[in-house]
Symmetry: C2
Subunit: 288 residues, 2 copies
């Protein structure tokens, strides 16, 4: 399969669905809706929605049946980025080479744009016949015990050294939780069996952790230019990272182990899982 | 009926349900969970949850069947207060005589505590068998076209004079929308008819607008001590208010008209609506 073409096609679908779903830039209050759109259309890779669609496909369904959920996942993810970038959190001025929401619209509007994107994610879940199931899972994933909780520990890790167990919690919470929900949403929309949902969960957890460990490694070894955000920042502020806690080589071994675990979980899907498998490779076989 | 006793009893139920539902202060991350609890247990009147339970009762049901939804409404409401109080928004140091969340825990944790309370509200909705219906309505109410949208226009109104139509949008969005959802949730949990849900909607809209107009009036006419927040602040910053746009007398007439409209909507409930009627009176028959 031609992965570049596949990714481009999927991004096209997702961008069109986001365009159709977000309130127009002229709708009152225009400032808010422009701020939401600024961050939604700021060059995101659409990783979570693409994984959602691929998981639906792996379970034998037309990926289009999960397109609404893919949009919800991207809204939820984008809300967390907007809030994480705020001066009172990670204080980032740029993301993917674009000025962050609060740099363009101010802190107050950025907080509110994030809030509204969170609400929109749940609105979309709630529109499904079995919307409660999706709303509940997305809420648990994004709540105080996972996504938001991970960001808190991450913030606290800036001023004190986290233990490996705490760092693992941060990575599981901040990245693996929403990746897992992304593939589970696709599977659920496709009517996946319990065994299939469990395999998707294992894939999401392992690939999310692997992705984050690799990010930590690349942050230490790469430059600002290549990543499009301030590289080396995590090391400068003696922030807790895998390489800082385990060393570079052991971190690489951990990333390899998690990558194998993620890909092995997909065996159950046979040929239907080939796109999901290719995505796993694409995500995790980076040069680290 | 003894309204004071009634309110005390209902607050007791709601506080116990909140206590049981919020993650414990020792659960990781403790800072976050303490911040969520700080604002949830900061002396709120529990107006929205009490209205929710009373609406269930008005529709002939045991109010206990809506207690989970009452908790969700208070979580949602509290999240909006935490974010509204932030320095980048209304910048309030105190609410109901207590220091606001960001004063105690810092701005970053306050943003995240609000985020997590929003997620928790949807988690609770999603746990219902027909959870999608509740998640969807709560999301629309709290999203960019209502609650959050109202806050944006409110922020913008600090630097420019809003028109009466814009101010009405702010009040409908910021207050009436969630009051309406509160009574509709109670009604829906009780299996209300379409006519009953419509009556609850009319009650919520009119009483929410009336409440806000009265708040505007009291803000002009009362002192800091009595309100427990910085009174006169709205007038000082030439913020848009009903009295500023309509004058004090016309604002009072508008409040009276809306109060009548709200109470008349409850006629359909007969005796079962007596608690809801008493609450309407309690809310709206203030000394203005």
């Amino acid at each position: 399969m031609d992965l570049e073409l596949y990714l481009k096609e999927r991004r096209g679908w997702i961008d069109a669905a986001l365009e159709a779903r977000l309130p127009g830039p002229g709708e009152r209050p225009g400032t808010l809706h422009r701020a939401m759109r600024h961050s939604i259309f700021a060059g995101g890779k659409r990783l979570r929605p693409i994984l959602c669609l691929a998981a639906a496909e792996a379970c034998g369904a037309d990926p289009g049946i999960a397109l609404d959920l893919a949009v919800a996942l991207e809204c939820l993810h984008t809300y967390t980025l907007i809030h994480d970038d705020l001066p009172c959190m990670d204080d980032d001025d740029f993301r993917r080479g674009h000025p962050t929401c609060h740099k363009v619209f101010g802190d107050g509007i950025a907080v509110l744009a994030g809030d509204a994107l969170q609400a929109l994610a749940f609105e979309i879940c709630g529109e499904r016949e079995d919307g409660g199931v999706y709303a509940r899972e997305l809420a648990v994933t994004s709540g105080s015990r996972h996504l938001v909780g991970g960001q808190v520990l991450d913030l606290e890790g800036e001023s004190k050294q986290l233990s490996l167990e705490e760092l693992r919690f941060v990575h599981l919470s901040k990245t693996a939780a929403l990746l897992t929900t992304s593939v589970r949403f696709g599977g659920r929309a496709a009517g996946a069996s319990e065994a299939q949902l469990e395999a998707l969960t294992r894939f999401g957890q392992a690939s999310g952790l692997a992705f984050q460990v690799i990010d930590d490694i690349l942050d230490v070894t790469q430059t600002t230019e290549k990543l499009g955000k301030s590289a080396g920042k995590d090391l400068d502020s003696s922030k807790s990272t895998y390489p800082a806690l385990l060393g570079l080589e052991a971190s690489r071994e951990e990333a390899h182990r998690l990558t194998r675990e993620a890909l092995e979980a997909l065996a159950i899907f046979g040929d239907a899982g080939s796109a999901l498998r290719a995505l796993g490779n694409y995500l995790l076989e980076r040069d680290y």
